[in-house]
Symmetry: none
Subunit: 226 residues, 4 copies
DNA sequence: CATGAATGAGAGTTCATTCAT
DNA sequence: GATGAATGAACTCTCATTCAT
């Protein structure tokens, strides 16, 4: 990188979510914005923030780089768009709440499997996530976004833990909040350690699940009996 | 026709480990190099790769930016220096092997505590590590360096696991390698999730330790008796 | 590890004739390119390659130096443009073939006069030519361009020599190819020796013409009779 | 080239011959200076002024680049040294005056042969000469040096012409000064056109010699008889 | 005498951004 | 709405030169 992105630092309006600058959300316009965000997302996955260039994003989106500035007021606004996009994907990919139809153990196992599948199918997502987490360490605004996201994730996990304990599927001594933290951070760490090798995440996650069930839990005992 | 001369004369040796280019450095010179790497390290922690500027590193090191090029052939070489530095620190901060004097459980607990302390005392280190891991996802050479580092770390953990199982301090059903993977990735994830809040890492790590000990292990039983 | 990103991303295609990179240029754009080449040409004449600076060329062309990079991908490409320009001028300033209307002797004399006039009117051209020939001694690609140009020039001269011999205007013993070599190199040498004093080239060129005619040639005899 | 030579243009003391700045010409010191000039000469031949770097010259001379500044006050002074060197070589390689022992025709033929041999043996010399002539077009001081050199060369040639005419070895109608100009410029031009192919210079020079002798001159007649 | 260290001016190049069309 | 042209600030890197040792 010769010239950097951060060239014109601008007043820095704490950024990260002052969207709504362009209120004319015609359907076509919104579609274009989505395409651009997608292009930015891919570029970010491949080059990182360090190598993220407006011109490349524009080219990938099939538009002129000037046109890009028509849809997004600047690089920061575009990055905000990418963050929004990924946060939405994250929300979609995660159960909003404990499903009463399936048991907690099954639910958690399903959650883990979903994560593994996602890493197999869209590995770029995890690359971008690490990139963003890295940036979040320096940008409070972004950190706040992830914190909020984590709270939602953790909420689901805590709910699942409590249900599991109650139904005697999980270890009784489990502290739901601590277990949720372990799950979140382990997944996060695994996506770095085993980047691009989703299959390798399986056994560690299984191990975690076993621990959560505990030796004497009903489900564990049942499975042992089988 | 090669129009202008010597514009970018570097053969570009794909770099990454042609250290020893400046082998016989006087003590003072080596000291300067260390200072510069330290400055680069701090700058990287604060600005990330995205905002890493030679001029700022130089200013931080208290030298002219061209002097910086006297010590390091270019930005790449300097970054290699930072990577070397952090990898060394990593090696130093980690037990090389299982200590026979203390029990495996104590050893592991000590390891976790050391990590927490390190995150309290040098939080930048973890910021830089995430930055580097992020970059490693795109750069095989860097990935290889971390892979090697992980192997050493995992080696120690596996050894500890085996010793713990043998001495009946750890769960007998434990698969040492899987447990080691869990530990490494959990620590990695925690350093992101709880960046700057080292204390919050404690309970998740304790939970992990309990799981590793298992309910019926001797040490757990002993501690329960007390 | 590729430390910094995109620092020198150019694949460096060894260049020299990847023209047509910007093929479909609007008339205005092409005009600008011509202006820039002209500015580069003038700067080269005044400062030589040694003192050729992108910023000065830009200033001379009345544009920002970064705009210059909009039209030419780099210094090399710009220099290639200058070479193209001068080679074209060279081709234009030289009869493509022997004109049947005028006699060979007259044709050659006219050629010499044209050269003298050109040196009077555009002395920079010869300065640039020497600069380029100097560079060609080290750059095979440029040498090839001049070799091609020389072949065309020599072709015309050989044709003229042959016609002159046949029409008994030139010495019968003349070896056309050798004479052509003499002409080309003498002109080249005169433009150095008498740089900026075009008039001084006249007598040497007349002497050469006399020698080519020879003592007993018809035209010489005729002129002597008059 | 990124940074240029001409970086610190300095008052420009019209340069080109203010030597004697370092009066302590101990034998050893003078020897060193000669070595450095030789190194600069070679580098100039290979890279041209455009690529001439003090550090490379120093390395080639086997000394530190700082030491080079001890022997030469700066780049300009060193270049002056190279010019002096080549001008001396030029003087040595050329008969100071007409040799009465051998006939003028023989003398001239010998002169041409000597030039061809020199181009075979030390082609770099001609590369450097073109480089210097190119620069002389922009630097009056250097131009003056070459003018002086040319006067000496021309003096010898005129003398030879006159002797040849008198002894009836050369064409009676020859104008010695014009013929001398032709010789000088032809040689100059040939060294460019046939750079690195000294043998190709032979026939053009023979042609010139024949013309100078003229058809009916005694020597030509004699040779024809043989 | 010689050198390692340091400097500063400036080079080519990049890139986000703006503006007129 | 879209684009080609233009900008300027900032970047990495180079090099002749100087200075303390």
């Amino acid at each position: 990188m010769k010239a950097s992105n951060v060239i014109h630092p601008k007043p820095k309006t704490t950024s990260t979510s002052n969207k709504s600058l362009k209120p004319d959300h015609s359907a076509k316009s919104n579609e274009r914005r989505r395409e651009i965000v997608q292009a930015a997302y891919q570029t970010l996955a491949e080059k990182g923030f360090e190598g993220l260039r407006m011109r490349e994003i524009a080219k990938r989106a099939g538009i002129d780089h000037s046109t890009l500035h028509y849809y997004f007021s600047g690089k920061e606004a575009l990055i905000d768009g990418v963050v929004d996009h990924i946060v939405q994907d994250l929300a979609i990919g995660r159960p909003a709440t404990q499903n009463v139809e399936v048991g907690p153990r099954e639910q958690l196992a399903g959650h883990f499997n979903a994560l593994i599948r996602q890493m197999e199918q869209t590995p770029e997502m995890f690359v971008v996530l690490v990139e963003l987490h890295s940036r979040a360490m320096r940008e409070p605004a972004l950190r706040a976004i992830f914190a909020k996201n984590d709270r939602a994730w953790k909420g689901f996990l805590v709910e699942t833990m409590e249900a599991g304990i109650q139904k005697d599927e999980f270890q009784a001594t489990l502290v739901p909040e601590v277990a949720a933290d372990v799950i979140i951070s382990l997944v996060r760490g695994l996506s770095i350690t085993f980047a691009g090798r989703a299959a390798s995440m399986q056994r560690p996650l299984e191990q975690l699940l076993h621990w959560i069930e505990g030796e004497g839990s009903r489900s564990a005992a049942q499975r042992a009996r089988r």
